[in-house]
């Protein structure tokens, strides 16, 4: 049995203060992001989808055009060589959104979030740093991938291919990358809102691929066209294409609407992350 020493005066320990800083939070999230295999592999999957599908579909288009029977008819309709090589980017929307989900929901499912919020108890800095690291990582990785997909795809298409200097091509490339960053951030926000990886990924999947199909069935008299134009994953359509698709918002309006979606989701995610017990 130990002796009671409650009343013994003891000098309180004075530690060296290691303060939390924005730079520290960013460095920490960078280490966290790249040190989990599932995240790194999902990023690799995004590269494969963007470059692989881009090259594959460019190849398919070249074969169709080379076909003596079908070729001339297809060519007559107008060939969007850029779109063919960037098809994979659309598939990668879901993949980068999943990365965003994993980055935050993975912390909740493993309990890591308690360490994160004990290390930085104001919490919002953690989310902001996660968003910044995610945005930069997705920007760089998909930026290189989209450029590679375009260049390889056009090389496959040869004389039918587009070039970087063509009207609208550069904007479409940049647009695709920005949209990918937007989807990744939206995934992060949904992950923070739902805190469950599977649920959040399914929600994002539905938002990107299922809801647009359902909206096609909404009659015009119910505002179907407006709903479709302004829906989250439809809004940035014309930001990603060289030739404008008339049934969607134009590139600038689309960018604004899409950015608003992402920012509102992030704000809701931040609110929930700040307030809920972990």
């Amino acid at each position: 049995m130990s002796t009671p020493v409650v009343d013994r005066p003891s000098p309180q320990y004075r530690p060296v203060e290691h303060r939390v800083s924005a730079a520290g939070l960013l460095r920490a999230e960078w280490i966290k992001f790249w040190s989990v295999r599932s995240v790194a592999w999902t990023m690799v999957a995004a590269v494969v989808a963007i470059v692989g599908l881009g090259v594959l579909l460019s190849w398919a288009l070249r074969d169709v055009l080379a076909d003596p029977q079908a070729g001339p008819a297809v060519a007559a309709q107008g060939v969007d060589a850029t779109a063919a090589s960037l098809q994979g980017a659309q598939m990668a929307w879901l993949i980068v959104a999943a990365v965003g989900v994993i980055v935050v929901a993975g912390e909740y499912s493993t309990g890591m979030v308690r360490t994160s919020f004990t290390t930085a108890p104001r919490r919002l800095g953690v989310l902001a740093a996660k968003a910044a690291v995610l945005a930069v990582s997705v920007l760089v990785v998909t930026g290189v991938s989209v450029l590679a997909a375009f260049l390889l795809g056009q090389a496959v298409l040869g004389e039918r291919g587009a070039s970087l200097g063509d009207d609208g091509v550069a904007r479409a490339l940049v647009g695709n990358v920005l949209v990918l960053v937007g989807f990744a951030l939206a995934g992060l926000a949904v992950g923070a809102l739902m805190r469950n990886t599977a649920g959040a990924v399914c929600t994002v999947l539905a938002a990107i691929f299922v809801v647009p199909l359902l909206l096609m069935a909404v009659p015009e008299s119910w505002g179907g066209d407006t709903l479709r134009e302004y829906w989250f994953s439809n809004a940035p359509t014309n930001l990603t294409t060289v030739s404008e698709v008339p049934s969607y918002l134009d590139a600038w309006a689309g960018t604004g609407v899409f950015a608003a979606w992402v920012l509102v989701l992030l704000a809701l995610g931040a609110l929930v992350l700040k307030r809920r017990d972990v």
Partner: protein
């Protein structure tokens, strides 16, 4: 220094912590004792701001934890083995934590060596045993060289060497002037490490006092007497109003009489006494007596049913009431 004032936490219809107030002082190890489900972990999470108190507040060195600019230097916490991403290596886990607070790589290596995780530092934490997970949690807690240390059930999963190591670690941390707050449901563990106890049962404060004072509050269990003059001893005890029970090895346990009384009486009657000592209540027994009503799983006990604490100070000094719980306790401790 950690000060809880009127801390309360309600989850839906269940109140996990009731108006809890206590102080964890620097320089000593404060044990946080309570049965499983009594609200210890909830209280610790509230200290760190992970759970928001329904009422009341808890201050760390005078401020809510979330307002500290250097949280890792303020409180180092081992919450449970699951505050780590299973897919990340121990080294990267600590590197990320250190980065947040601008702590250098040298300190990361230092705590890895301190807890003995060097060989597995590059392995994923998901593959760690319970004991290795605890060591990683302790390394995380010590990373910022904090003024306050909070360990939730730290000996869980540790081998005997590890248990001894953490006991000494907690004592040396306290000796350096840090506040050490350690929870356990193991009374024996607290007896070996704690100087001061905060005891809770069903979310309510039961005791906040030194370990010694806590044990002293509980009646002695009885007096062991050994005498060759069995008949005379039996008469003596009966005449004095006590109760005598043979313990089977030639000794007797006397209840209701103090050792002094038995000794004096034996001298007066000329009864030879070969052994005479008071059987002290162990920390276990003290705890059982004080929390019997507060144990979450006690039969018939609904939330908020009656007073939780039956203070022993109020009890008459006569023959000990022989409740079922006490008999069980005694049998276990024999």
């Amino acid at each position: 220094m950690i000060e809880a004032r009127g801390l309360r936490k309600v989850y839906g219809r269940k109140t996990a912590v009731h108006d809890l107030s206590f102080t964890v002082r620097p320089g000593i190890v404060t044990g946080f004792l309570g049965p499983n489900g009594s609200g210890k972990s909830t209280t610790m999470r509230m200290v760190l701001g992970l759970d928001r108190p329904t009422a009341g507040q808890v201050l760390v060195d005078g401020r809510p934890f979330a307002q500290h600019r250097a949280p890792l230097s303020s409180v180092g916490a081992l919450l449970d083995a699951k505050a780590v991403h299973t897919g990340r290596s121990a080294l990267n886990h600590l590197r990320a934590m250190a980065a947040t607070a601008g702590i250098g790589r040298a300190r990361v290596d230092e705590v890895i060596d301190l807890v003995g995780l060097r060989e597995v530092a590059a392995k994923r934490a998901g593959g760690f045993s319970l004991g290795m997970g605890q060591r990683l949690g302790i390394a995380s807690a010590l990373l910022g060289d904090p003024a306050n240390v909070m360990f939730d059930e730290p000996v869980n999963g540790l081998d005997p060497d590890g248990i001894l190591w953490i006991r000494n670690l907690m004592k040396s941390l306290a000796a350096e002037g840090r506040s050490v707050f350690v929870s356990s449901h193991l009374m024996s563990e607290m007896a070996l490490t704690a100087d001061h106890l905060v005891v809770i049962g069903r979310g309510r404060l039961i005791a906040d006092e030194s370990v010694q004072a806590f044990v002293d509050r509980v009646r002695p269990r009885g007096v062991t007497v050994r005498s060759p003059q069995v008949a005379q001893l039996t008469d003596l005890v009966r005449d004095a109003g006590g109760e005598l029970v043979a313990t089977g090895d030639g000794a007797f346990e006397v209840r209701g009489l103090s050792a002094e009384r038995i000794g004096d009486e034996a001298l007066r009657r000329g009864v030879a006494v070969h052994e005479l000592h008071t059987v002290r209540a162990s920390l276990e027994e003290a705890f059982m007596q004080l929390t019997a009503d507060a144990v979450e799983y006690a039969a018939h006990a609904g939330p908020g049913a009656g007073p939780v604490l039956d203070l022993p100070a109020d009890r008459p000094a006569g023959p000990a009431p022989s409740t079922r719980e006490q008999r069980e306790t005694q049998e276990v401790s024999r």
